[in-house]
Amino acid sequence: MNRISLIMAGVFATVIASLFGLVLIPSMQFQQMPPKEIFAADGSTTMYPVALEDFREAPGKEVYRSMGCVYCHSQQVRPEGFGADIDRGWGQRRSVPRDYVLQNPPYLGTMRTGPDLANIGVRQPTEAWHYLHLYDPQITSPGSVMPSFKFLFQTTVGKEPTPPLGSLVIQLPETSASEPTWIVPSVRAISLVAYLKSLAQKYELEEVQ
């Protein structure tokens, strides 16, 4: 009998210790990291990090989650001298905990079948590139193994569609379509691209040094 309560106590103690050590104590540390004022060269100030806006970016993060982008793309830049992230242009500096304090949850990722996306908003700023890439990665990146997300678009072949007011129409490049083809991104595609464009760890932070 004693032995059973002893095993139970030991079993609980070990796992609770690691819960505190690995999760709760670091979490308390991150809680004390409010967004910071950054002073730009022109004298203006910005707060960093910035929360996603609710109209497009936050729903876009949900599309990112729903499509499982995290299984091939990380969102973290490794430090100089550990891997070649900075040399590859994936970021200007390494990522730090402050970059993620407003992300709930952060999609750090553990796999790089595709490149890191921590700064994709800076690296690929044009919307048209993102739409074509999502529609068919072979158009922008021949040889890619990324799945196509054609189901996030409406495709029209032959003549240019007249979409509802305000929505985008993109014509596929002639090299990748036998007939003139136009695509209209759905709300989900628009949100996803807005989210991707928001991804940028752009400010120098003193803790990076």
Partner: protein, 501 residues
């Protein structure tokens, strides 16, 4: 310290156990354990198909590309979750219940409740998998089921914990065997981890990157504190049982248990080395991973010294062959895991298929092979029929063994190269993608082989459930007892002749 009389084992307990008592215990487990086992095989087959779809998509992205449900980012987590919560957890639970009953020398109590729990578990895994496929997965690795699935699923364990405590209190065999320690630990650890991590990730309790550490605290411990204890409990039981000799050292096995409990917990953050974490947090993960050498070597020595002199039995017993394969893989995967936690190794191996190969060495080569071996031992005793074909068991073993070896070798080499190329900024990223294609093909081929093995096993289990095998004849071994005896006497004659010379 370690005299033979102290080295107790299941054999020691059961020599004196009345055969009819044992048969009664087996009968009490029949419906419950068969339900958990049969369900697990269903999930194994479904998970294998999902795995193949995901694997093919990685080198041929046009495959099933039109379907939103089957996009890679959904099929992959659907595969992982059906395998972990469907196959591994359900087969593990079947073995756990049976081992508890046998080792406590008690008929299984609460049978109706455990049947309902099995059906409920199946329902939850089915809904969870469906939710992932329709896009409601969480994209938190190993915790992809929506929180409203994870919490009720973990809560099932309240029944299992209560059952374990009840059985351990009422047990008729006073001596606690090491398997019981492991099983009891795992029943407490798993729900604590699962529910705890779900709350941490879906509530404001953990902030920013702490959600990432919560993720890996959980994901690493699902293998370490849920599947590993069940796998080791099975190996600790079945190896001595099949050999008919006690485990080498009881004390070593207890040291192994407590060091595992102490150190495994802390290893999870090695999945985030180089990531945006405070340095001390990563160091803790590395130290925890290094300390894992203690329990691993303890277990390896103990199992090896139990096996010594009996390796020829691997030719005969399917249970032993699967379980020894698994136990050896445990040593291999743990040593590899500890080394992977070193910064220099991690710099190359992280973010690549090398990690995927490592994960499969753990969950497949170690846990799954032991689960197969356990089921080969337990199911005939529940159904009271023998396995229908030793040839099919051979097909199963060789497909899985060669399959996982090929999988591991292909992806380890490919992943290591991938990491080396990725760390060389002169190689364009798209070149790496192209160069990886052959290695990804090798995975699809290996996966096909493993899937063939699983279907062979599926046929065997199906025939078993339909009671098509014989009973009260020789057990289905790779080499029948008569052949083995004839061979043994021949060998003896040869060696005797050798002595005469």
């Amino acid at each position: 310290m370690n005299t033979p009389s102290q080295a107790k084992g299941p054999q020691h307990n059961f020599d004196t156990m009345d055969v009819s008592v044992r048969a009664d215990i087996d009968r009490s487990c029949r419906e419950v354990v068969l339900l958990w086992y049969a369900s697990s095989v269903f999930w194994l087959l479904l998970g294998s198909v999902l795995a193949l779809v995901a694997s093919i998509k990685l080198h041929t992205p046009g495959f099933l590309a039109g379907s939103e449900w089957l996009t890679f980012g959904r099929v992959r987590p659907a595969h992982l979750n059906t395998m972990i919560y469907g196959w591994a957890s359900m087969s593990g639970m079947g073995t756990l219940l049976w081992l508890m009953a046998r080792l406590c020398k008690l008929p299984l109590p609460w049978r109706e409740g455990l049947m309902i729990a099995g059906l409920y578990w199946n329902g939850m895994v089915a809904i969870g998998t469906w939710q992932i496929l329709i896009g409601n997965g969480t994209s938190i690795e190993w915790l992809e089921f929506p929180w409203w699935i994870s919490i009720p699923l973990g809560a099932t364990f309240l029944v299992v914990i209560a059952l374990s405590i009840k059985m351990l209190r009422e047990r008729r065999e006073k001596h606690l065997y090491v398997s019981q320690w492991y099983l009891f630990g795992s029943t407490i650890w798993f729900p604590f981890l699962y529910i705890g991590a779900t709350i941490l990730i879906h509530s404001p309790a953990a902030v920013g990157v702490a959600k990432g550490t919560a993720n890996w605290w959980f994901a690493h411990n699902v293998l370490g504190l849920w599947l590993t204890p069940i796998g080791l409990a099975s190996a600790y039981y079945f190896i001595p049982k099949v050999l008919g000799r006690p485990i080498h050292s009881y004390y070593l096995s207890i040291i192994g248990f407590w060091t595992l409990a102490l150190f495994y917990n802390w290893a999870g953050t090695h999945h985030l080395i180089g990531g945006p974490l405070p340095a001390w947090l990563v160091t803790v993960g590395t130290v925890g991973s290094m300390m894992m050498f203690v329990p691993v070597i303890t277990v390896a020595v103990n199992h090896h010294l139990t096996m010594v002199g009996n390796f020829s039995k691997l030719r005969v017993s399917p249970t032993l062959r699967f379980i020894v394969f698994g136990a050896m893989s445990y040593t291999a995967v743990s040593v590899q895991g500890s080394l992977t936690a070193l910064r220099t190794v991690n710099e190359t191996g992280h973010f690549t298929h090398y990690t995927i190969a490592h994960a499969h060495l753990g969950v497949y080569s170690f846990f799954t092979m032991i689960a197969f071996g356990s089921m080969y031992y337990v199911m005939p005793r529940l159904v009271e029929r023998e396995w229908i074909s030793s040839r099919l068991i051979k097909v199963h073993f060789w497909c899985c063994a060669i399959g996982i070896l090929m999988y591991w070798v292909g992806l380890s080499i490919g992943g290591w190269l991938q990491g080396t190329w990725m760390n060389n900024p002169d190689i364009p990223f798209m070149d790496i993608v192209r160069r990886m294609i052959p290695y990804l093909w090798s995975r699809s081929i290996a996966g096909t082989l493993m899937t063939i093995g699983h279907f062979a096993f599926g046929i065997l289990v199906w025939k078993m459930l339909r009671r098509e095998g014989g009973w009260l004849v020789d057990p289905t071994l790779f080499v029948s007892r008569k052949e083995a005896a004839a061979e043994a006497s021949m060998l003896k004659a040869i060696s005797d002749a050798g002595v005469d010379e």
